[in-house]
């Protein structure tokens, strides 16, 4: 079918381009690694819970940050291709019109998965000691994949909307900072009141809390799981619809 083969051609194209950009890809892996070292090893010792526990504590939020950061590349790419004639060429060709965005999304999710796996391995080396069972790992993978897909569509939308590659990059970097203002680096009870209020109600917190519980093999709150799925399915659907609309109508000259 036209739709599948066109999407596959686009996917292949973006995979090739992604891996020929070793700087962007390397940074996406190295930056989270450095963060774990900095937070876990440098600051962890000063924490009440102790260095070893603190590394375990921050891994979920570092994962969130690396997922969002690994989508910056797709936002920048789409913005550049919109301004060059590339999007125009594809839009004037007899191809499945959804294949361009979908090829980008699939390739970007693929890259993010590699990044997350690499960061997990890095975390192990530094002292991350999870106690999750196989099914708990599956649940973690499922939630992370959902967040990745949603963040990727968000990056695609941002890439289509903003005027320059710089603003694509800086808006997505802003989003990648949100996990800092969550339960990711310190228990919410220890935050100042106004910050705790924000942290409790932002979409990264339920994911971080569920992932942390799952990783440590401790009981997970159902409401966190439900909130995670509702938040991120919502973000994925809205961002996807907005991006497709933008591609279909707003880019019309």
């Amino acid at each position: 079918m036209r739709f599948f083969s066109d999407t596959y051609v686009m996917f292949k194209r973006n995979i090739k381009i992604g891996f020929r950009n070793p700087d962007a890809f390397g940074m996406a892996i190295v930056a989270p690694f450095i963060m774990i070292m900095l937070f876990g090893l440098v600051l962890g010792g000063a924490m009440e819970m102790g260095r070893a526990n603190y590394v375990n504590f921050i891994v979920p939020s570092i994962m969130m940050i690396s997922i969002v950061q690994s989508t910056i590349f797709v936002g920048i790419s789409i913005n550049r291709e919109k301004k060059a004639g590339i999007v125009d060429r594809f839009r004037s060709m007899p191809i499945a019109q959804s294949s361009f965005l979908l090829g980008h999304v699939c390739a970007s999710v693929f890259r993010s998965v590699i990044v997350v796996v690499a960061v997990t391995v890095g975390a192990f080396i530094i002292g991350f000691r999870p106690e999750a069972s196989f099914t708990q790992w599956l649940a973690i993978a499922g939630i992370f994949l959902l967040v990745t897909v949603a963040a990727t569509w968000l990056a695609v939308f941002v890439g289509l909307v903003v005027k320059s590659e710089e603003s694509a990059s800086s808006s997505l970097t802003m989003i990648s900072l949100l996990p800092y203002l969550s339960s990711g680096f310190a228990p919410i009870e220890t935050l100042p009141r106004w910050l705790a209020l924000f942290a409790e109600h932002q979409p990264f917190t339920p994911v971080i809390d569920s992932a942390r519980a799952l990783m440590m093999g401790s009981p997970v709150s159902n409401s966190d799981l439900i909130l995670s799925v509702v938040w991120w399915t919502g973000i994925a659907v809205v961002a996807c619809i907005a991006a497709v609309k933008m591609y279909g109508h707003k880019l019309a000259k």
């Binding site: 004639g85 125009d88 004037s92 060709m93 000259k253």
Partner: protein, 250 residues
């Protein structure tokens, strides 16, 4: 002969907070199969706007346009089957090689013998030596040639070229003209825009001069020259004179 491109009373506005900008104000023309139609105009005349509408990228606000009998708005899918576009801005992937760029278009257009076609186009555009280098290593002219080669992949019956020779050296420009003539002889219909009068004179069998959203003169290069004949100089004017006279800057 049957007309491949037919444009009737085309209007286009760009809306902004400062008010509407009326870019095309009733443009009409027909291009026969195998013809080379050249839309001539200065910066901001509306050439790219016209190309965008004809290639289904933009929608007209009034009037209609059809390619090979299919309306560009109603049957945009079918229009895309018969057209291929080289836009004004380069549409090549910098990190892919020339060969990979061509192969990708071949895959999307489902070209048979795509490997052989890729080689043929690389040769026709004298890019064999650079075929396996990433486009980021190409010169501006090489990029432009690859861009046009990508447009020719798949043998579409109607080709749109928005300022195709901008940035090419004289040698490559002449080679491009040759190629365009050969294609037209093979029955391909060509719509090109240019700011170079010489190019219109050399290539086109039909020229339209677009100025401030209206076509102020239209015809074969010879006809346009005849219009101006027997004025004080007693010689055939160049297309340049025609252009300047019509836009009233002479």
């Amino acid at each position: 002969m049957k007309s491949m491109i037919s444009v009737k009373d085309l209007h286009k506005y760009y809306r902004s907070r400062k008010g509407d900008h009326h870019v095309l104000k009733g443009v009409s023309f027909e291009v026969a199969k195998g013809g080379i139609f050249c839309l001539l105009g200065s910066n901001g005349a509306g050439k790219t706007t016209a190309v965008n509408i004809l290639t289904t990228l933009g929608k007209p606000d009034r009037g209609s346009a059809s390619i090979n009998g299919c309306d560009v708005v109603k049957y945009s899918d079918r229009v895309r089957e018969s057209i291929s576009l080289t836009g004004q801005y380069a549409a090549t992937d910098e990190l892919l090689t020339g060969r990979e760029n061509l192969q990708m278009i071949a895959d999307l257009r489902r070209v048979e013998n795509s490997k052989a076609e890729t080689v043929r186009l690389l040769q026709a555009f004298r890019l064999e030596d650079a075929a396996d280098k990433p486009v980021s290593d190409y010169s501006g002219g090489m990029r432009r040639r690859l861009d046009i080669a990508m447009t020719l992949m798949g043998n579409s019956p109607v080709i749109f070229l928005d300022e195709p020779t901008t940035g090419l050296d004289p040698q490559n420009r002449i080679a491009m003209w040759e190629l365009i003539r050969t294609m037209a002889n093979d029955g391909v219909t060509i719509f090109l825009t240019t700011q170079y009068l010489e190019e219109a004179e050399q290539l086109a069998n039909q020229v339209a001069i677009l100025h401030e959203g209206v076509i102020i003169a239209q015809g074969s290069p010879e006809e346009l020259k005849q219009d101006l004949y027997c004025e004080e100089t007693d010689s055939l004017p160049t297309l340049e004179d025609v252009f300047l006279t019509h836009i009233g800057e002479k």
